[in-house]
Symmetry: C2
């Protein structure tokens, strides 16, 4: 399995610093969780049922009709490659690494490309995978005509190699070109969320903006036949009852959402200022993290960890990703540590 942020227990052991003493900036998850009320016993007790309000709440929140709840975008990332026969897949790089990993694991031919090349060479692929805004670089897919042309070209004529899964949906879906856009970090600018259509698959995360990464919840927006095939693949009860309960209410809490969007924008701007002041001018950023290319990223990562500050290290290219500190004290602690380690 791939390495991820959020491995606080491991860092605590490696650096001999107790867990509660860390400032964990290693994920892009908001430090401010939506406040989950007490979970009713029934949500723990009963098998989860689709006939609750989760789907309608998501339709209202995302402003689109065709959605499938999934156990985090990770579940969709793993399942989508298994709905297609062997395909040529272009994946944004650098970017959230689980995409390329999942397509390769499922036996597809994966090419990693930076944004401009992936857009320019989209015709060469049966499937193109974008992340927008990208994690960790923060690049966005240019909306409009370019993506449209990329997305919905004519059918591929390359002969298909029939593989393991012989169910009907797979062969039907095989006829199409897919464009996948992972919008897991898009919630602070909902007006920029894309609208699904035939051939266009959008991934949405509940964990990041709502600060509910532990809930394991996300949504796929796509055309109905794709969602049917994906649901069949994922099987029944893929979200827990407590998660359905919490996420339904978080998606309906528009007051909290509006306040939090403003707050996160302000806090991310403060983080960027702090980094820039310390000589680490961010190369990119979203409202949930800042990204800094730096040749000595590994040294800085280690030096921060020695001071109980966990950030995410990337090696190709060498870079650091800083999540938002939970409060002003956390930001000040980061600023102080940065002055000590002189980036």
């Amino acid at each position: 399995m791939l390495e991820h942020g959020g491995r606080l227990a491991r860092a605590a052991a490696a650096y001999g610093i107790p867990r509660e003493a860390w400032l964990d900036l290693s994920t892009g998850v908001s430090p401010h969780s939506w406040p989950v009320p007490p979970v009713p016993t029934e949500a723990w007790h009963r098998l989860p049922e689709d006939e609750d309000d989760l789907l309608d709440a998501a339709r209202a929140y995302y402003g689109c009709e065709h959605l499938l709840p999934v156990a985090g975008t990770q579940a969709a990332i793993q399942a989508l490659p298994r709905l297609r026969l062997r395909s040529r897949v272009g994946v944004l790089s650098p970017g959230y690494a689980e995409h390329a990993y999942a397509w390769r694991e499922a036996g597809h031919d994966v090419t990693l490309l930076p944004m401009h090349e992936l857009l320019a060479r989209a015709d060469e692929f049966d499937v193109t995978v974008f992340i927008s805004p990208n994690n960790p670089t923060s690049e966005r897919v240019p909306v409009g005509a370019t993506l449209g042309a990329t997305a919905l070209g004519e059918n591929t004529t390359r002969p298909a190699v029939l593989c393991h899964d012989r169910s009907r949906p797979r062969s039907l879906l095989q006829e199409q070109r897919w464009v996948i856009v992972d919008e897991a970090f898009g919630d602070t600018w909902p007006a920029l969320f894309l609208q699904p259509r035939e051939g266009l698959i959008l991934l949405r995360s509940v964990g990041k903006f709502f600060g509910l990464a532990g809930a394991r919840a996300g949504f796929v927006a796509a055309w109905p036949a794709l969602l049917d095939a994906l649901q069949e693949r994922l099987g029944p009860w893929s979200l827990s009852g407590p998660t359905r309960y919490a996420v339904t209410r978080a998606l309906r809490d528009t007051t909290w959402q509006a306040t939090m969007r403003d707050r996160l924008r302000g806090e991310s701007a403060s983080l960027a200022t702090t980094l820039a002041t310390a000589g680490l001018l961010p190369t990119g950023g979203t409202d949930l993290f800042q990204y800094c290319l730096h040749p000595a990223a590994a040294r800085l990562h280690h030096a921060l960890a020695q001071r109980g500050i966990l950030v995410r290290l990337f090696t190709d290219p060498a870079a650091l990703r800083f999540g938002l500190p939970p409060d002003a004290a956390g930001l000040a602690r980061l600023a102080q540590a940065l002055t000590e380690i002189s980036p």
Copy 2:
């Protein structure tokens, strides 16, 4: 997808009876949930980490070392068929239908057999799937020599057809015969739990005995290489943070477990007596449900539903499964309804 019990919202709509007025006996989930304490914010907020106490709690509870937590036995049922190339698979029938469904969906050659035939003809299969005690018939796999001979014969020499997933574990695991035993309803007799060994895969459910079906949690007990391949297949963060929190504590609560075993035995015996008294002598039963073969099962199911009592209907063979009523009033209500519909 297959039909299941627990579809109370659907029954409420179909029969025009409000949800809260139903006596839901349609699942084998215990009516008595382990009482989950308030979930700490961190469990919702952070990405779940493997380094909590969940695995050690499960090792203590199940009395075996090699375990993998999964998002319900359903997750394992769906994933195991995708770890093998096309195989000859013998599956217990009648039995929990998701097993045969999952093996077929993954492209394997599935043969459905009753217990004695599956045991007798085990040599014909690369994989045999048992459920013990069986849901819904309650039959148990005879432990000891028979299962041993079934499980661990020499390697199959039939040529393998290389299929979709080209990862390494798949081909390695392909060399083995597998015996899968789904022990989801085994918790009230823990001394009868089998011990995993090479070739023997055991499925354990947290939802039934602990009354936590909404948590979506279970365990696979098997040899390390199988668990590694399964974990790789299921990917990171397959259990939510709140579920890891709750299940860890439920597995450690040995006092509650001992009390509940006695209580469920008593309540299931009372249910059997009630059914027998009404002319529905159970054909089989566990401590969590009773099973009644009956030629007029469909009529009885409908007549009970008209009275706001939901039970599980099986059609091949025609049968009803009754879960435990939550209290004496529920049992009395069932008894009264049965006198009205004269089975």
